[in-house]
């Protein structure tokens, strides 16, 4: 046994050591263990999706199609999109960090429905198996967007199998969202009022609302694709009397809010990191909290900006363009408030903070280029070019994946009970930042010059930018593999983590051990202070 009062590595009560055996993991209802199950699952899927991206980037080193046939290339970028969106990005922060932290942050012993939480992971696993089967039998070539009538008639690939995998995956998302909403409403500790909730909880609550309201529409849409493809019932195919643009409306009604499912939890992580490593309460708590809800709401009103050149009415395009600019307002509120929090803060540039600062810059670039593509005229020029690819990767990778990495490092001592090696972590963060920008900044140039996305070949004058992009991708890949090794290493050899190594505020740091006991707290905490009470001092142990 450790002699230090807060070092519980060998304490049999901590959640990692309270039970042993594979069954104790696969059938656990402990939110922390389920978070670990998700961590393992989505890490696997991240590297599967990354393998497809690697093949795409390797093919694009040369202008001609030499490594992959065009048909194979189409399958590669499609599977990359499907795996990364539904099997990594959407579950990443909510299902891993959210599952682990939300009950602790609100002062609860678990989520409201622990068994449904386990069911959610099993559904995710089942859908993951389906998508892996789809890959092994030949994949799908429709793009991750499944546009009709290609997906319902012309495509000679396994569109129904992929749609089925996503259909099942959707139920996992809905159940996670439902669990978060009920937990935040009904399981808060005494004194934990709505306006004392950490901003991570606010952002995940907003995300959960989107998950519950948007995901069923995707399920219905994919079901309709399956019905049309298998039974030839005319819904989207004009040859059968259907409307292909109807598919795009339904698909983007889900998929644009899904972008906010991917970015809002990242914003929550950054709010936590910026305050903890500036040692200051957040600037404008209320504005940051309500900005999350505003983004969730406005995110549902803008989907038509994906349809500007699809044949959608010009008048609808005007409405959607105008509404799209609305989203910039709450997003900018967050960026300004994080920056204002840094002002005169006692800033510590530890690895999680490096990721947070990277997020602020990269997300801002992704967001501002989003304004370009929300403009009707500019979008005609850059639609379906690499400009769009660069834009959404700045949000999803530069934003969400960076925030996920920052959050994973920040809460790693709480999750594993061990510290990660700071030097290696900083090297990896630097590689990721440099590799990311070298990969995707050239794509802005390529897109603006007119290189379309989703082609295996391109004119020779674009080669230099593509070589730069592929070089960046190889650095980025190293940047992502290095943490895999040192985080594994730290689980056995890392320095034992104290209860609150970052001197951060929040119930998970101040009231729970590292790693926490099975039911999080020895007794239910009573909250008497606002979130981020750095000006009043924090409890270290």
């Amino acid at each position: 046994m450790s002699t230090h009062p807060h070092l519980h590595r060998d304490d049999p009560k901590d959640y990692l050591h309270c039970e042993y055996g594979i069954r104790s993991w696969l059938f656990t209802t402990d939110h922390k263990r389920i978070a670990i199950l998700y961590l393992v699952s989505i890490t696997l899927m991240f590297f599967v999706g990354g393998a497809f991206a690697t093949l795409v980037r390797l093919e694009l080193i040369t202008p001609q199609s030499d490594l992959l046939q065009p048909e194979t290339y189409n399958r590669m970028f499609t599977m990359h999109g499907i795996v990364m969106v539904w099997f990594f990005l959407i579950p990443s922060i909510p299902a891993v960090l959210g599952n682990f932290l939300i009950p602790m942050m609100v002062g609860a012993r678990d989520l409201a429905f622990p068994r449904i939480n386990l069911l959610s992971w099993w559904l995710f696993t089942a859908s993951g198996v389906f998508v892996l089967i789809t890959i092994f039998i030949g994949g799908v070539d429709t793009g991750w967007t499944f546009y009709t009538p290609f997906s319902t008639f012309y495509s000679n690939s396994y569109a129904v199998a992929a749609a089925l995998a996503i259909f099942i995956n959707g139920f996992s998302t809905i159940l996670t969202g439902l669990n978060f909403i009920v937990t935040v409403h009904t399981m808060r500790a005494p004194g934990m009022t709505w306006l004392r909730l950490p901003l991570f909880v606010w952002s995940n609550y907003a995300t959960a609302v989107i998950m519950v309201l948007a995901t069923p529409v995707l399920a219905i849409t994919l079901l309709l694709v399956g019905i049309e493809r298998v039974f030839r019932v005319g819904i989207f195919d004009p040859a059968l009397g259907g409307d292909p643009i109807l598919f795009q409306h339904l698909f983007w009604f889900y998929s644009h809010p899904a972008v906010y499912i991917m970015i809002l939890p990242g914003m929550g992580v950054v709010s936590e990191l910026v305050t903890a490593f500036s040692r200051k309460r957040i600037f404008g708590y209320h504005f940051v909290a309500f900005a999350s809800m505003a983004i969730a709401l406005f995110g549902f009103l803008v989907w038509g900006h994906h349809l500007f050149v699809s044949g959608q009415s010009l008048y609808a395009g005007l409405v959607f363009s105008l509404l799209s600019y609305l989203v910039a307002v709450p997003s900018a509120i967050k960026v300004f408030n994080w920056t204002a929090t840094l002002y005169k803060g006692s800033v510590l540039l530890a690895t999680p903070m490096l990721y947070a600062l990277a997020f602020i810059g990269l997300f801002t670039m992704g967001g501002l280029t989003g304004l370009f593509v929300a403009a009707l005229g500019v979008d005609v020029h850059v639609h379906d070019t690499y400009f769009v690819v660069a834009h959404f990767h700045y949000i999803m990778v530069g934003g969400m994946v960076t925030a996920y990495m920052g959050g994973l490092h920040f809460w790693w001592p709480k999750i594993s009970g061990r510290m990660y090696p700071e030097g290696w972590a900083k090297i990896a963060a630097g590689l990721i930042f440099f590799g990311f920008n070298l990969t995707f900044f050239p794509q802005f140039v390529l897109g603006y010059l007119g290189m379309p996305r989703r082609y295996a070949t391109y004119p020779p004058e674009f080669q230099v930018w593509n070589v730069l992009s592929t070089a960046g991708a190889s650095i980025l890949a190293v940047g992502y593999v290095v943490p895999l090794f040192y985080l594994f290493w730290s689980m056995r050899y890392g320095k034992i983590a104290p209860r609150n190594p970052w001197r951060a505020s929040g119930l998970e740091w101040e009231e729970a051990d590292s790693p926490p006991i099975k039911h999080n707290f020895e007794e239910v905490p009573t909250v008497t202070k606002e979130a981020y009470h750095y000006h009043e001092g924090v409890r270290l142990g």
Binding site: I181, H185, L213, V217, I245, L246, H249, L250, F253, F300, L301, W303, G304, L307, G311, Q312, S313, L314, Y315, A316, V319, F320
Partner: protein
Amino acid sequence: MPRLASPRTFLKVFIALLALTALTTGAAFVPLGPFNDAVALLIAASKATLVVLFFMNVRYSSRLTWAFAVAGFCWLAVLLGLSATDFFTRHWIPSPSAFPWR
């Protein structure tokens, strides 16, 4: 725990759903032109409301549950309403082929 509807109420709702199904089938044979779709959708919406209120027990649940149920319908209205901005205005501007002299 919120209270449940009585078995008698469940039975009445069930019979109402069956009657509305029969009405849907019957209405399909009446030539109403474009209103056939409208009538079918109206009946379907009534059936959905009955299911939500009684079988999903929203009728006897808290105001918070009501708020979430209403939110679902609001979001459906957003989906239909904003999609309609496209469908109802798509033909306002003729395609360039309508002006061959340009």
